[in-house]
């Protein structure tokens, strides 16, 4: 049925394919990278005490836990959902871990129980969103309150501590001068970047984000993947909770309060599209470091915390404006 005598059709709406350099350079991640470089330069000039790699790495450990969760949150947001409860899941699974440990359970088992809790909490979110089909943004605002409340029920307002030495201060252990959490965060970023960019699974996450209905019709197991993503959020949050517990050598119900905003900020700064279907892990990775530099730089320069809030806010909005502008361009 092919007809060779046909004049090559459709030339009339042949768009000039964008030059390669554009495809490579005009991406949200590039913006994040530029911001990062700029931030480093500014910070270095703000305070003489800033330019000290050891110090920056040490300070960075305070953000690695959020960064870790933000990496997975990136996948969730690309798939068109959102999870605002990870910080609360960190707290609750950490509280479960600590309470069990205090009740005399071997710390190893307690840690396993903590992670299992995370998985269960994630599954609960998944159930609400995938099975009951509640809008994830509001459902996870509900679980945010619930989980935070449960950790308070569990641990009250006291802080649980007295963990064995080997468990404590993971942020203080280093390879060379690089703390363990930083290494873990970097490896996780690499792994997820490969998963998202080069595997069918990653492709399907994008497809779900672009059009869930079309994805279902094309045979993508939408429910299973989304559920899996929420469980992954739970597990990662639990791990982050344990990291925090190790860093602080103590656990309280208010662990990571407000962390969800930081995580979303990282994902957005990284240029992931809030409505799903676009974005990537690399951006989130860079954005996490951007936050580290900004916060550390301002702290060490004794800039009052209140103007830090202002900067963070402006930053978020600025990054979204840039991101959307770029997507508008590439949308054609």
């Amino acid at each position: 049925m092919t007809d060779a005598s046909l004049p090559a059709p459709g030339v009339q709406n042949a768009a000039p394919a964008r030059p390669r350099w554009q495809v490579l350079l005009v991406r949200p991640e590039t913006g994040t990278l530029l911001l990062l470089v700029g931030a480093i330069i500014v910070a270095a000039n703000l305070s003489p005490f800033f330019s000290d790699l050891r110090f920056i790495l040490e300070s960075s450990t305070y953000y690695m836990e959020f960064g870790l969760v933000a990496l997975v949150l990136t996948l969730v947001i690309i798939s068109g959902e959102i999870d605002l409860s990870p910080a609360a899941m960190m707290a609750l699974s950490a509280c479960v871990f600590a309470s069990l440990f205090q009740a005399g359970l071997p710390i190893g088992l307690a840690m396993v129980a903590g992670v299992a809790t995370g998985a269960a909490l994630g599954a609960f979110n998944g159930f609400l969103v995938v099975v009951l089909q509640l809008p994830s943004i509001i459902a996870t605002i509900g679980t945010l309150t619930l989980f935070r409340g449960l950790s308070q029920v569990l641990a009250g307002d006291r802080s649980i501590s007295g963990f064995p030495a080997w468990f404590m201060g993971i942020d203080w252990r280093t390879v060379g001068i690089v703390p363990y959490p930083v290494i873990g965060f970097t490896l996780a970023a690499l792994a997820l970047a490969v998963l998202l960019g080069m595997t069918v699974w990653g492709r399907q996450i994008y497809q779900i984000g672009v059009s869930e209905i079309a994805a279902r019709h094309a045979g993508v197991r939408v429910r299973r993947i989304k559920f899996g993503l929420f469980v992954a959020m739970g597990v990662t949050s639990a791990l982050a909770g344990l990291l925090t517990a190790s860093r602080l050598a103590s656990v309280r119900y208010d662990m990571a309060t407000g962390g969800e905003l930081q995580m979303v900020l990282m994902v957005m700064l990284g240029g992931t599209y809030i409505f799903g279907g676009r974005g990537g892990v690399l951006g989130t990775f860079l954005a996490a470091w951007l936050l580290v530099i900004i916060a550390t730089g301002m702290n060490v320069a004794n800039i009052v915390v209140t103007s830090q809030l202002v900067v963070m806010g402006l930053l978020l909005i600025g990054s979204i404006i840039a991101t959307n502008a770029i997507y508008a361009r590439t949308q054609r």
Binding site: L128, A139, G142, L146, G149, M312, L314, I317
Partner: protein, 328 residues
């Protein structure tokens, strides 16, 4: 027809409210007294007023996460005017607060419409931005009770009729106005239309940008009113805590009230019931002597429960709909 009745989420809410009142009343008879009514009514005005604004924003398929910070900003500005210019009449501070709220809301709207950005992220940013401004303008200094005009504070104590305090009456007046506006004015309906299908709205000659700006401005102004009410109710304004986390409560109330997070669906009555419901739960817990720990846990559970109930009701409603055949 019973199906149609069930499909109305207001009904579901009334049932839930009745249930809570009944259960709590059985456990703790003292709950079913006029005093409780007073406390509940006192617990809701701030949320109700802000919820009216938030509701319109969500109806237009947007969301405003910054109202907590706006509330704080309005309150601190009012407080500073009361403190630093005591010679001015109270109303000046009040109006200034509302104006500030409107301006910050408008700013949200401008960013959202000019660059057409997702409002949830924009306001996530302004949430932090505005909170920063609260600290900056106030120099991180709290406004102490001695500076808040007695007249204002008595708003939450004295009452013109039936012992219903002023701020409660004002709140319900605002709700009533919103109801009339959304149901019976052109702009009101256009808000629903925009939320229902933002892409098609301009094709139906709806001026989306002005309406959106208006909605955000109104939400901000109402958050400003809530800010004044905050000062009236708690008697002082602290830059650090005023309005923190407020947005979650309000959004919860709005959604529990049956407003679809996807815009286009929702009624003022529903939201009002949603606010009353949450307010009642809040009051019931301490009266039951439930440990302070349990409060936020139960609070979250209740929100989820409400969402699920609402959801199932809606499905039943939808099923009732698809049965009706159209063209022959």
């Amino acid at each position: 027809m019973i199906g149609a009745l069930l499909a109305r989420r207001e009904v579901g809410l009334i049932v839930m409210i009745a249930l809570v009142a009944l259960v709590v009343g059985l456990i703790e008879p003292r709950f079913l007294t006029a005093e409780t009514l007073r406390i509940v009514t006192l617990a809701i005005p701030l949320i109700l007023v802000a919820a009216m604004g938030q509701m319109m924003v969500i109806l237009a398929r947007h969301v405003d996460l910054s109202i907590g910070a706006i509330l704080g900003f309005a309150a601190i500005v009012a407080g500073m005017i009361f403190r630093d210019m005591p010679q001015l009449p109270t109303i000046v501070g009040v109006l200034a607060a509302i104006a500030c709220g409107a301006v910050l809301g408008l700013a949200n709207g401008l960013v959202v419409t000019t660059f057409n950005l997702p409002s949830i992220i924009v306001t996530l940013g302004t949430l932090s931005l505005y909170r920063g401004l609260v600290f900056l303008v106030s120099g991180s200094k709290q406004v102490d009770p001695q500076f808040i005009p007695r007249g204002l504070i008595s708003m939450s104590q004295t009452s013109p009729i039936f012992g219903i305090p002023w701020i409660v009456l004002i709140a319900f007046a605002i709700a009533l106005a919103t109801w009339a506006f959304l149901g019976y004015t052109r702009t009101g309906r256009q808000i629903y239309a925009i939320g229902s299908n933002p892409v098609a709205a301009p094709l139906r000659s709806i001026r989306v940008t002005p309406v959106t700006l208006f909605v955000f401005t109104l939400s901000g102004a109402l958050a400003g009113v809530a800010g004044v009410m905050y000062a009236a109710r708690f008697g002082y304004v602290n830059p650090g805590i005023t309005g923190v986390g407020f947005e979650f409560i309000v959004i919860a109330a709005v959604v529990v009230g049956g407003v679809s997070i996807n815009g286009g669906v929702g009624s003022v009555l529903g939201v009002t019931l949603g606010v009353i419901f949450l307010g009642m739960v809040n009051v019931a817990l301490p009266i039951l002597g439930v440990s302070a720990f349990w409060q936020s846990a139960i609070y979250g559970a209740v929100i989820l429960l409400a969402l699920v109930v609402d959801r199932t009701v809606r499905i039943r409603g939808a099923a009732a709909l698809t049965l009706s055949r159209g063209t022959a």
